[in-house]
Symmetry: none
Subunit: 204 residues, 4 copies
DNA sequence: CATGAATGAGAGTTCATTCAT
DNA sequence: AATGAATGAACTCTCATTCAT
């Protein structure tokens, strides 16, 4: 049968889910195989090794987010709009694929030791995208000089932490019902707040 | 040598180092024991379990950072100065104990599933510290209304990512020597930039 | 050789032997694996855990003895014959599977703490079998009122102890050659003696 | 301080309790030390090894039971009374020191491999005691010929199993409330039933 | 006598990976 | 292409025993 494609996808899909829920090490190939209803040996047949599967998972995910943002930005004109799009698209994507933030943070926090070249490169591409938006803004006289890498981390760091910390914040609220600004803000409001803050620091 | 204190400290010290370098799961107690030149069983003698050791490590670390910041803020007056102190102290601490950022990010990215109560609580306390600075600023008319949790993540997220991504950025520069704004900024400049950005969004 | 059935059987067979010779705790899975010429991990592959393997061993054993007795009794008519069959079959079985008595005694002597439900149930079934024989005897007017549980323990306790203590008694004889009635009786004679004794207490 | 004696006793006492509750292997010296509020190393100071402590425990226990029975029998005259005393004293003792039955059964069921000579000897002495009662009965013409070892096992086996299986029987009753003759008999009734049964087989 | 520190051997268990079919 | 069997190394944890003070 030519279910090869389907099998591969099932594997990837469940790997994504488990890796993001449990982390790389806590997720066993047995888990993935069982969840995918597929023989464990097939994972090796398709992806050579656990690391290989992981690389595939991350690669796919990052490619998706990159091209989604790129596409969204294409038709816009003003740099500040592009910035907004970048933030909102990134956020939307993180919400939609909730496994992404934990995965990214985890990857980054391991010094990129397990991080295969392609992934690293794709993360870099994403940053270059923002960098080009900012540079473009400067050229047009919209933005002043800035430290693009900090802007990048301000956006991604804040968003990732916000998303990732949700369960913790909800727990905290149970203990301290007055927990300030824990859960009452929507992701849109957060995006808007980040956008405004960054704009203030960028605009001439 | 038969010195409990020294043994305990050696264990903790090396655990900190390895946990932050390799992560919880990749670090084996064999590693820690060998590095500490100490019998593996002693880890259980002192800390009951791997999780127990981890809790001790994190607890100790977070307590330190909290009290350091608290102490530093005590003698200051203006809210904006407090904010600056918060950012700089947090940053300095993260630099000094470079294992902290990866540990924090990793913990957060696992939904706090393995996160013992005390740790969780200490992270919360740290946030409350910033929250009180911001609230104080509002009372004094220095700051306008804001979303403290976002400010918190803007500071910690940005700083943590900046520190944690350093090796990656350096690698990137080797491939793309024009890598924009990757390594030429000192942590002080980063802090200052973050501070300014946040101040702009806060000040009336 | 890649034969699941054979592997499983080899494991069970050696587990039975070792568990009954050394007891549950003294028998390590390493021992079983080595004796079976099988990779230790296979034990987990097949039986999930040491306890799981043990359960399998006991379950299999008890099922066998139960159905053997049941079968043997089926075609008999008088209650006293059934009683005799019960005793003799039980004894024969204990002799044939010499690991059984120590296993049973050991299990019982640990308050049934590690005793999985199924095993417990099977031991209970065995008692119910004797109980039904006795009740049947009463109905027919063959037997008088009695305490079936004591009868049960009289049979099984005596037989188990007799079998289990054999090496001890032989040792004793070496020191005290006049050791009374230590070894000169065959199991058949013992059975007969038990049967007669119990019959005397039962018959009207 | 000369608490040596007290310490030794505390250790023995708690060892008895734990060994009989959990069995030899499941009981760790840590457990015994903690329960006794005594430093673990002292156990080695006093008893050389875990096995040594165990030997002491068993030795003490068996000596007690032997001399208690011997004493009780001394003043009696008729063999049948002695038999009764033997059964009842043994039973009473087993009830009083509830750790004894499991210990004995466990020891027997391990082929006496761990069984130190002294213990073995004491168990033998106990049997000789009964044997002498029976022989005495024959001499007086009270009893007919018999197989003393079977009588011995009938008494001890039945009683030990009855006591040891108590928790199991109680559990069984929860599931099958009609559980026949499980719990309604007192130990005195059991003794009496055993006595009568044996007497019937013995009396001329 | 007494204690806490230290040891080393092994226990059960997990898991990525490979092999045979 | 697919499967279940098999492997071996590693992992966390336990424990009897010894050492130093």
């Amino acid at each position: 049968m030519r279910d090869a494609k389907k099998s591969r996808e099932k594997i990837i899909q469940n790997a994504i889910e488990l890796f993001s829920k449990e982390g790389y090490h806590k997720t066993s190939l047995d888990d993935i195989a069982k969840k995918s209803n597929i023989n464990k040996a097939m994972i090796f047949y398709y992806y050579k090794s656990k690391a290989g599967l992981y690389e595939e998972v991350m690669s796919k995910t990052l490619s998706d987010i990159y091209s989604t943002i790129k596409e969204a930005i294409k038709n816009s004109s003003r740099a500040k709009d592009n910035l907004k799009i970048f933030i909102e698209t990134y956020a939307k994507y993180c919400i939609k694929y909730s496994y992404l933030p934990p995965l990214l943070l985890r990857e980054l926090s391991s010094n990129g030791q397990n991080l295969p070249f392609e992934m690293r490169n794709k993360m870099y591409q994403l940053f270059l995208l923002l960098d080009s938006i900012l540079k473009d803004g400067q050229k047009r006289g919209e933005f002043r000089e800035n430290i693009s890498i900090v802007i990048h981390f301000m956006i991604t760091g804040t968003l990732n932490l916000f998303i990732v910390s949700k369960p913790l914040r909800e727990d905290a609220k149970e203990f301290d019902s007055s927990f300030p600004s824990a859960t009452e803000y929507s992701i849109e409001e957060i995006c808007s707040y980040i956008y405004k803050t960054i704009l203030k620091t960028l605009e001439v």
